[in-house]
């Protein structure tokens, strides 16, 4: 069982299980959506003193922070006990493309160390990727009112038109970054 679980899970296992998590939370009376935690954290540290928007009763949202703490533990468990080497079987064309940006061994680990490591944080490229990327993620999800979990999974499953618009936006932004901006960023 452990050995089977240690293999990478194919999409048709992962996707339906994500839906089950969403339904489980609905059974607990909650709407699945992770990016609202970013707002809750702002409220918790007292952002309401400067910006009224954060003057909310964040105690109602603690369940979601607990959920996120669980996901972090889940990541630790997966890495420590259910891991058979971390390689990601990405396609040959993606590998060749990334090698042309001097990324060593694309797919050997989950993330390229050239971009995502403590030493990368000492480079301009690392700063732009980590700090700049994080800012865009936080700003964008709250502006759109949700992220992949809230809009793409929950909203689309519930056939909500607003979520479809948001997901179209996600892809427009992602395509612009991947095809028009990253080729320059990666060569910095």
């Amino acid at each position: 069982m452990i050995e089977w679980m240690s293999q990478p899970w194919p999409w048709y296992v992962g996707g339906p299980l994500i839906a089950v998590v969403m339904i489980t939370l609905l059974f607990f009376g909650k709407r699945f959506g992770i990016s609202s935690n970013l707002e809750t954290m702002c409220s918790m540290v007292g952002a309401g003193r400067w910006v009224d928007y954060f003057n909310v009763n964040w105690k109602d949202k603690i369940w979601n922070l607990v959920f996120v703490l669980g996901t972090l533990i889940g990541g630790y468990i997966a890495h420590t006990f259910l891991n058979n080497g971390d390689a990601v079987a990405i396609s040959q064309s993606t590998i060749e493309n990334l090698q042309s940006f001097s990324i060593q061994n694309p797919g050997a680990q989950y993330l390229p160390a050239e971009l995502f490591s403590l030493s990368a944080l000492l480079t301009i490229k690392g700063w732009i990727m980590l700090v700049g990327g994080g800012l865009l993620v936080g700003f964008g999800t709250r502006y759109a009112g949700g992220c992949t979990s809230g809009h793409a999974i929950t909203g689309l499953s519930n056939l909500e038109l607003p979520s479809l618009i948001a997901v179209v936006g996600f892809f427009i932004g992602g395509l612009i970054m991947t095809h028009l901006i990253l080729p320059y960023l990666l060569t910095l």
Binding site: L115, F116, V137, P162
Partner: protein, 137 residues
């Protein structure tokens, strides 16, 4: 104690996203280059299975743990906020390879530098709150 069920559900979710490789930057990069079906399969099958389960739940009038009807309140946002916010998020998603869920899972998975991404995403959420009244919605 009432929070333990959320902790356990979160642990399961963290394991699922780790093992389905959703937290891998490469998978997101590949998705936006249309060079693999993997991520489209994950998101697509989650939505299809989710939609079927939600229809069944509505049909039988299933109740939640508190005895209330299980239903999702639709999100209500303006078109501009959805589209502009969505595009801005998409730009960041393609850079970090992580949406708000995976960025926490990645820290647990052993890449602590993602704490920086979490911090800057929280700052991004704060900036949205601060600038909200000047933005088109």
């Amino acid at each position: 104690m009432k929070f333990i069920k959320y902790l356990l559900t979160g642990i399961v979710f963290g394991i699922i996203l780790s093992k389905a490789e959703v937290i891998s930057w490469y998978r997101i990069y590949e998705m936006f280059r249309f060079e693999s079906f993997h991520m489209f399969g994950v998101i697509g099958s989650a939505v299809v299975v989710g939609a079927i389960l939600l229809l069944m739940i509505k049909k039988v009038g299933a109740k939640d743990i508190d005895g209330q009807l299980m239903q999702l309140k639709p999100k209500e946002n303006g078109f501009k906020a959805l589209l502009f916010g969505g595009v801005i998020f998409g730009l960041g998603w393609a850079m970090t390879g992580a949406c708000p869920g995976p960025m926490f899972i990645i820290v647990g998975y052993g890449t602590p530098v993602f704490l920086v991404v979490i911090l800057s995403a929280t700052l991004g959420a704060f900036l949205y709150g601060a600038l909200r009244k000047y933005l088109p919605h």
